[in-house]
């Protein structure tokens, strides 16, 4: 038993490392082969005034003159020691720049994630209980429309209503000047970005929960429960919901890139300092060291989430192990 667990854990760690390695390789090559000039983003306009010899010296100092695979092995060696290079734009250690803002993204994305799935579960159950009644139909129609609106447009409309016309909520930044320790102030700044993230993603997940539940209510065991005298609500909460949990957890894992992507866009629109704003900036300024690390961080989060979801699913639904032949 213990051997099996160790083997499983090692297997997952190996999987994780392999994926991260491939990801870094692909992103690194793409970044270095691209035509954009990293020297320009480091030195700005002054590149044009440099002589060719000076440019070459600068290339050498930044390590850009070697063949790509050598650059890559060097990068990997440094990365293993925790040194991911300097951001060409900020002229600082990449990790330092990211370390200053990553918490903001974590808070925004995390809250959006929890709210989305909490509400999706409640709303999904509500819709499934009232299947094909007028309330369900109305929610479905509204949901389809909200799901189609691009996040940046909802943000704009919210800024227009709450920021410009009513002037009751702040529309940019993570806190007012000099208030970075004030939790209330931070919360007020979170309201609009969060509302956009929830409104933009909620229906997608609600719809999945609703449909899974509707499939479940057509199973035979529901009839048995009914004959036993359980009420509709009891059947739904105690039996159907439990049965859709494995797929719900898989959906939660798969959805992380979607919600993260949404967070990035919303951050940019609300000029909220975070990984998203950073990644747009680094794309605009060809700051590849930064973009590379951002891609890797995002990838690491997503892969970890996928592996966690697999493990949780195996715990709550032992059938999955049998299917894969692990338990023999």
């Amino acid at each position: 038993m213990r051997k099996r667990i160790i083997k499983l854990v090692l297997n997952k760690i190996f999987q994780f490392l392999l994926v991260m390695f491939l990801l870094s390789l692909i992103v690194f090559y793409m970044a270095r082969l691209s035509p954009g000039d990293p020297l320009k983003s480091y030195y700005g306009e002054s590149v044009e005034r440099m002589s060719i010899a000076q440019q070459e010296a600068a290339m050498e100092r930044l390590g850009l003159d070697e063949p790509i695979y050598l650059q890559y092995t060097k990068w990997i060696e440094n990365a293993a020691a925790g040194d991911f290079g300097i951001s060409f734009k900020y002229k600082q250690d990449v990790m330092k720049v990211i370390g200053d803002v990553y918490e903001n993204t974590l808070i925004l994305g995390g809250l959006a994630y929890i709210l989305n799935f909490g509400l999706a579960l409640l709303l999904g159950v509500f819709c499934a209980l009232h299947e094909e009644e007028w309330i369900d139909r109305i929610i479905c129609k509204i949901g389809v429309v909200t799901n189609c609106i691009p996040a940046f447009f909802i943000s704009l409309v919210f800024i227009l209503i709450f920021g410009v016309n009513l002037a009751i909520l702040p529309t940019s930044g993570a806190y007012s000047i000099g208030q970075s320790q004030n939790i209330m102030d931070r919360l007020v700044h979170l309201i609009l970005p969060l509302a956009v993230l929830v409104l933009g993603h909620l229906w997608y997940y609600t719809y999945m929960v609703r449909n899974k539940l509707l499939e479940e209510t057509r199973q035979d065991y529901v009839l048995l429960c009914k004959v036993k005298g359980l009420s509709k609500r009891q059947i739904m909460w105690k039996h159907c919901l439990k049965n859709i949990m494995p797929s719900f957890i898989s959906i939660m894992a798969i959805s992380i890139p979607h919600i993260l992507g949404g967070t990035y866009v919303v951050e940019k629109v609300f000029s909220y300092p975070g990984l998203g704003t950073l990644s747009f900036e680094s794309a605009q300024f060809h700051d590849y060291n930064m973009l590379l690390v951002l891609c890797l961080i995002t990838g690491a989060v997503v892969v970890t989430a996928n592996i966690t979801a697999q493990i949780i699913n195996e715990i709550i639904d032992p059938r999955m192990k049998y299917e894969r032949g692990d338990l023999q």
Partner: protein, 284 residues
């Protein structure tokens, strides 16, 4: 039991309903964009500096933007580029998806495994980040380059479906027969594989058009898509940051409503196709 059955029939019944409204509205928008030259009262690129930021009125139905261009003309004219990007991106992504999925499905277990792992890796990065990345590499963007970068980031889901469909039919006798008679990869793909899985990917293809249009708008709005001179529904709204502070609501809302209406219609049509395809199997 009775209740159960009748509601099930209801769903089946509903799924047969053709979304006439969506089709009509979408047709009007598409036709309007194609025949933009006839509808437009003004030249959409002409900047009339005497009439900047005018609210909707008789001679400017939807008002003018902060550069003095007529929004009504710009919407029909810009719709061409938006729709073009949507369709081109979808053609690119579908082509990649079908070829990739078929190769993966027809190959042996190890290559198939490796190829599917690769799609999972690509799926694990938010596609907006990849698009930003590619845009950064391409640099100066135009409609084709945007369609390209959206296209090569949205093929993964379709190729997964193609692969599983191909795996189910790869050992059928007719494919064996075609192979043993010397049919090449693309011949088998066109004659035998494509007709079998086209219906199951159709709805994703349609939703991809909507996704591509929305992504283009997002990118242009955020300043890494089309420049302001190339008019599309997205770059039309890129000016709205300025308009926002002055409370010029029409510059933001009117192009947005057009964009959303198009996306809702496309989604409805996609959903209809999906329900029509698998109504016997599940209620999804």
């Amino acid at each position: 039991m009775n209740i159960l059955r009748s509601s099930k029939e209801n769903i089946i019944e509903e799924s047969r309903k053709i979304p006439y409204y969506s089709i009509t509205i979408l047709a009007i928008i598409i036709l309007g964009c194609i025949f933009a030259n006839i509808i437009m009262p003004y030249d959409p690129t002409y900047m009339n500096l005497a009439q900047i930021s005018q609210s909707p009125r008789v001679n400017h139905l939807f008002g003018t933007d902060t550069l003095g261009r007529d929004i009504f003309s710009m919407i029909w004219y810009g719709g061409r580029i938006s729709l073009f990007i949507g369709i081109l991106a979808t053609v690119i992504s579908t082509t990649i998806a079908i070829v990739y999925g078929c190769i993966s499905g027809l190959m042996g277990k190890h290559i198939d495994d490796a190829m599917m792992r690769f799609t999972e890796i690509v799926l694990s990065i938010p596609s907006i980040l990849i698009v930003i990345f590619i845009q950064a590499i391409i640099g100066q963007s135009n409609a084709v380059s945007i369609a390209f970068s959206i296209g090569i980031t949205s093929w993964m889901n379709i190729s997964k479906i193609v692969r599983s469909e191909v795996r189910q039919i790869r050992n059928s006798e007719y494919i064996l027969a075609a192979r043993s008679m010397g049919g090449g990869f693309f011949y088998i793909l066109r004659k035998h594989l494509l007709p079998n899985f086209i219906s199951s990917i159709m709805f994703m293809v349609v939703t991809n058009i909507g996704y591509a249009i929305g992504t283009e708008a997002t990118l242009s709005f955020l300043g890494i898509g089309l420049p302001v001179e190339i008019i599309s529904w997205g770059s039309l709204m890129a000016l709205s940051q300025k308009a926002l502070l002055s409370n010029f609501w029409w510059i933001i809302l009117i192009p947005g409503i057009f964009l959303i209406t198009t996306l809702v219609c496309i989604t409805n049509i996609g959903n209809y196709i999906r329900k029509k395809n698998n109504r016997e199997f599940s209620n999804l």
